[in-house]
Amino acid sequence: MEINWSSVIGIVATPVIAFIVGVLYGGAVRKITARVQNRYGPPITQNLFDIIKLYSKKTAIQHGVMQHLGPVFAITASVTSLYFIPVIKDSPYFQNFSFNGDLIFLLYMMVFGSLGMALGAGQTGNPNSAIGVSRGLSQMVGYEIPFVLALVAIMIQFKTTSLNELLAVQDHFTNWIIFQSPLAFVAGILAFLGMMHYAPFDVVIAPAEIASGPPSEFGGKYLGLMMTSGSIFAFVKLVLFVDIFLGGASDFITLIIKTFLLYMIPVLTGIVSPRFRTEQSILFFWKWPTFIGILAIIVVVLNG
């Protein structure tokens, strides 16, 4: 069997790059937030220090095997999702495993991570974790609907479930789906706000209400794993949205610019918003974004 070396390099490098970019993005967000809050904030590498520190904790409490598996599930899910997203358009290194049905697969994969977390957190027995998990799952139900609707609209419009094909469609910036299907984009981006768990949709970790929710009982390397997976996962979501709506990126600089700008939407919203209550959050997604999503489908169907 012939080994595709470029794919191998990609497989190894993609998570590493995703992690580094995710971590640095995390640091940048903290820095930007700090500036809005009239202060300097931590160094941009702060999240890296945090993660290293968590890994180097000498003890880590463990409540059962599921708690151990939870973060592992999460990190597996995010890395797997990553593998199915073409990070750099047309690059032999970063195509990874994207195939024709990958959008559907991704939808499942992204939920899988959260479920793993939920199982892990559930085992800790901390009521805060339990409440956090139930909140997370209900909220997921909330934002998945407009997200799926947006994707469905796009799938119908372009008659494909492959990211690569979607990327191929967007060969010029006027052809970006954001311009071709603005309603789907609006629905998608609103769902994206929820997905990124920034305020007002940070009901899952809500410190003032349920300590920090699911990870309440996680310390040391488990929390480190969760932070790692979180960093990668943030990157996954960003790349996914860039690929779907913003025409992907054919080189790293474009990728960084696009993802960063996209990232700023939830971040800046988060800086100036309080948190919704869980049911308010779900209702929010079920009202406008869902309506827009349905509208997008209707428009597509009518146009099609």
Partner: protein, 367 residues
């Protein structure tokens, strides 16, 4: 269908709790069925300690009763002794006291604003307001020598006169605060999500409020005009022009708006005080504190703090030390019986905002 009840302990170690106390919640789903407050984590036995100390020695410890806002405590103890002893306070000292009280009210509201919006997840607001509050602490440091614990107001007046150029610096800070208030409005009080989270939440019934002994902003948030500063004007409040804002509704937002408007009033009052302040001494010396025998008698004095009416009941038996000083903080009622009642039926996400809006301050519950 009745959901399974679980018990949720909010505190004492919990980011959502104000201070160091615990609320034991019986929760069905997301709704609180029963709330029970547990206090005592900050009990230092102030009242016992005051019985061990002379009147003057009590001043450094009373300001610790309420950490965010120490001045009303000093003011209360000072006025209680002065009433028992019949001691006059110089006019200028009264003005300075009112200035300190209003500055501390402003500082307490800034801290509350941070707590209230931080509890709701708006993390920018505490960063701003607590940072800005520091400018008031700077003023206090300059005036009293201490950032948090001032030990400035005491029997017979205040400890020191204003430092040089202090008036200008206060005015400058007030200008700064006034320029900042619209920005807070835009970020917090006009914020649609903030309104969504606060309007109609934690409602106190108007009739019940009177009977339960609610005081301060929570009462004024029910539309009842009750404020010690106008009911029983102490120091020079009768010489100042100010209004006591009331808002109908009785919910978190109404209480927030009361506080928001009072901040404007406080700024205006500080300006007036500085404007009208007469000259003269600031301290009517009490006898040597080692040999200060306060005559027999008792006094109940009240001060309007940022959280409501602060009452002190002091009894002297003619000796060096107080016989009894009973501290009745506003949070005593708010934090125990009122909280337990209005938490019932609330969503667990709202527990922390409700506590914040009532101004629950554990150190003054257990003292």
């Amino acid at each position: 269908m009745r959901e399974k009840e679980t018990t949720l302990y909010l505190g004492p170690q919990h980011p959502g709790i104000t201070g160091n106390m615990m609320v034991k919640l019986k929760v069905a789903g997301d709704t609180v069925v029963k709330a029970e407050t547990h206090v005592g984590y900050l009990h230092r036995a102030f009242e016992k300690l005051m019985e061990q100390r002379t009147w003057m020695q009590s001043f450094p410890i009373v300001c610790r009763i309420c950490v965010p806002e120490p001045d009303p405590n000093e003011e209360n103890l000072a006025r209680a002794v002065e009433e028992i002893e019949g001691r006059e306070v110089p006019e200028r000292a009264k003005y300075i006291r009112v200035m300190a009280l209003e500055l501390s009210r402003l500082a307490a509201y800034m801290l509350w604003m941070g707590g209230q919006s931080g509890g709701l997840g708006l993390y920018t607001a505490p960063q701003w307001s607590v940072g800005d509050r520091d400018y008031i602490l700077d003023l206090f440091e300059e005036l009293t020598g201490g950032r948090i614990y001032h030990m400035y107001i005491w029997a017979g007046g205040v400890r020191r006169d204003l430092p040089d150029g202090f008036k200008e610096r206060v005015l400058k800070t007030m200008d700064y605060f006034e320029s900042r208030l619209p920005e807070y409005d835009k970020l917090i009080f006009d914020n649609a999500i903030f309104k969504k989270r606060t309007i109609g939440i934690g409602v106190i019934d108007k009739e019940k409020a009177l009977e339960w002994g609610v005081v301060g902003p929570p009462l004024r948030g029910c539309g009842i005009k009750h404020d010690v500063r106008i009911d029983e004007p102490y120091e020079i409040y009768d010489k100042l022009e100010f209004e006591v804002p009331t808002v109908e509704g009785g919910d978190i937002y109404a209480r927030a708006m009361v506080r928001r408007r009072e901040m404007e009033q406080s700024i205006s009052m500080i300006r007036q005080v500085l404007d009208k302040m007469p000259g003269g001494p600031v301290y009517n010396k009490v006898p040597n504190p080692l040999n200060w025998y306060v005559p027999k008698g008792d006094a109940y004095v009240k001060t309007e703090s940022a959280r409501g009416e602060f009452g002190y009941y002091a009894v002297s038996d003619g000796s060096l030390k107080p016989r009894r000083v009973h501290v009745r903080g506003p949070a005593y009622v708010h934090g125990v019986s009122l909280l337990e009642r209005i938490l019932v039926g609330a969503n667990i996400s709202d527990v922390s905002p409700i506590m914040n809006s009532l101004g629950v301050c554990p150190p003054e519950i257990e003292r």
